[in-house]
């Protein structure tokens, strides 16, 4: 093991080669994704597929990790690539300046995909993609809700969705009502509140979840993982919903339906 990683040798004897063997996807390189990419690079990941169609704006710089004033007008991809290259000169980086749906073939060989996305629709689709291809999906997100006569409420989540295990629908995170509301508000969503520190907490937790999934260093690799973040109190805890899961096997994505859809001629 390189000297650089000696302090993380507690992750296990073969942890570093395993980490280096994994192809990791990061969809969305904004407030959450930029944190994730930075941490993955520090830990030693060598094979990246990263994706974001957007360019850096001044309003991103309150939270875009690695972003500088000079980056305004540049692709967010460029910031992410710079972070990775600054730590991992030999890393393979596939950079996609488009929505992931238009280049999903690039993600097929990922072992883990981080979704740092804004919409339930995007999350639903990428989870479906991951289930078809037996890829571990890790979702992060945060939101700030205005409450009348009270301070705003900040909340976030980290979810690990793995083949065979409960999905984000099973966890009640993606619901038909939520998808319908989102579809109805299409185009009127406006700018969601976003700040750097909850993104950092959530991204760090997500990366920790991923490293455990890859190295098994805690002795357990649970599925699902559902962490909820209360931004007002600062508490990250296992979501209470896990206690009430009706099944440990996902009825939405049965393992028997992995792979290409089976088209039945009628």
């Amino acid at each position: 093991m390189s000297d650089r990683y000696q302090r993380q040798s507690f992750l296990g004897e073969n942890s570093q080669p395993k980490i280096e063997r994994v192809r990791v996807g990061v969809v969305g390189l904004g407030g959450g994704g930029s944190h994730v990419v930075q941490q993955l690079a520090h830990i030693g990941f060598q094979d990246y597929v990263i994706c974001d169609p957007q360019t850096v704006e001044d309003t991103n710089l309150n939270r875009l990790v690695g972003g500088r004033l000079k980056d305004i007008g540049q692709p967010k991809l460029a910031v992410a690539k710079r972070i990775v290259r600054g730590l991992q000169r030999k890393a393979k980086i596939k950079a996609i300046a488009d929505r992931w749906q238009t280049r999903c073939d690039e993600f097929i060989f990922c072992d883990v995909i981080f979704g740092c996305l804004d919409s339930f629709q995007d999350r639903d689709e990428i989870e479906t993609f991951c289930r078809r291809h037996l890829i571990i999906y890790i979702d992060i997100g945060m939101d700030v809700h205005k409450v009348e006569n009270d301070p705003p409420r900040m909340a976030g989540q980290v979810i690990l969705s793995a083949p065979g295990g409960p999905c984000m629908k099973c966890l009640g995170f993606i619901t038909p009502e939520g998808m319908a509301q989102e579809a109805a508000a299409y185009g009127a969503a406006g700018h969601r509140p976003q700040v750097v520190w909850p993104n950092g907490i959530l991204a760090s937790s997500a990366v920790g979840v991923a490293v455990n999934a890859i190295t098994g260093w805690t002795g357990k690799t649970p599925s699902p993982v559902y962490l909820s973040y209360d931004g007002n109190s600062g508490l990250v805890q296992v979501h209470p919903r896990l206690e009430y899961l009706l099944t440990t096997q996902c009825p939405h994505y049965p393992l028997g339906k992995a792979g290409k859809p089976i088209l039945q001629q009628l």
Binding site: R21, F109, D111, H133, A162, A213, L255, G256, G259
Partner: protein, 162 residues
């Protein structure tokens, strides 16, 4: 091409639980992974496992395991009924890298060829498991030659590479 096979841990556990069971006369047990193609020929995913019932083995002192016509017929039927490829799988009882015996190389490719004749739009193949590693080859849709599986991963809440 870096041919990759992904296996859900639940399916692998089911397979290992089955393959490790003793048989009255067969030295080794055989089973079949169901597999599905994805939109990239280089990735095949396992979607299930089927045991070979005890009565479908044929006593053959020259082979670790010999399955009969019924077992083969069942595999061919699964291709049609479930639209899944078939991967012949068995287990070598040791740690470390593993590979095919002369008998494996003699018999199994022909069997897999018959799977491809049944449906050549699906991948079919051979996997041999040890306690810690695996070896495998696949006949991909439209191809006549077996391709070595370069990356085999077992996926659940964690990832293991075989």
């Amino acid at each position: 091409m870096q041919l990759t096979l992904r296996i859900p841990k639940a399916v692998l556990d089911e397979a290992m639980g089955d393959l490790k069971r003793p048989h009255a006369f067969a030295y080794e047990r055989v089973g079949f992974f169901r597999c599905r193609p994805t939109s990239d020929a280089g990735l095949v995913v396992v979607s299930g496992y089927d045991t070979v019932p005890d009565g479908d083995y044929v006593e053959d002192p020259g082979a670790g395991a010999c399955i009969g016509a019924t077992a083969i017929q069942s595999a061919l039927q699964r291709i049609l009924t479930h639209n899944t490829g078939q991967i012949h799988v068995h287990w070598h009882e040791h740690d470390g890298p593993t590979g095919p015996s002369k008998t494996d190389l003699r018999d199994q490719p022909r069997l897999v060829g018959s799977f491809q004749n049944m449906d050549d739009t699906l991948p079919h193949g051979i996997v041999i498991l040890s306690n810690t590693h695996a070896w495998g080859v696949l006949l991909l849709p439209g191809k006549k030659r077996f391709q070595p599986i370069k990356k085999m991963s077992v996926v659940a809440g964690g990832i293991d590479f075989l």
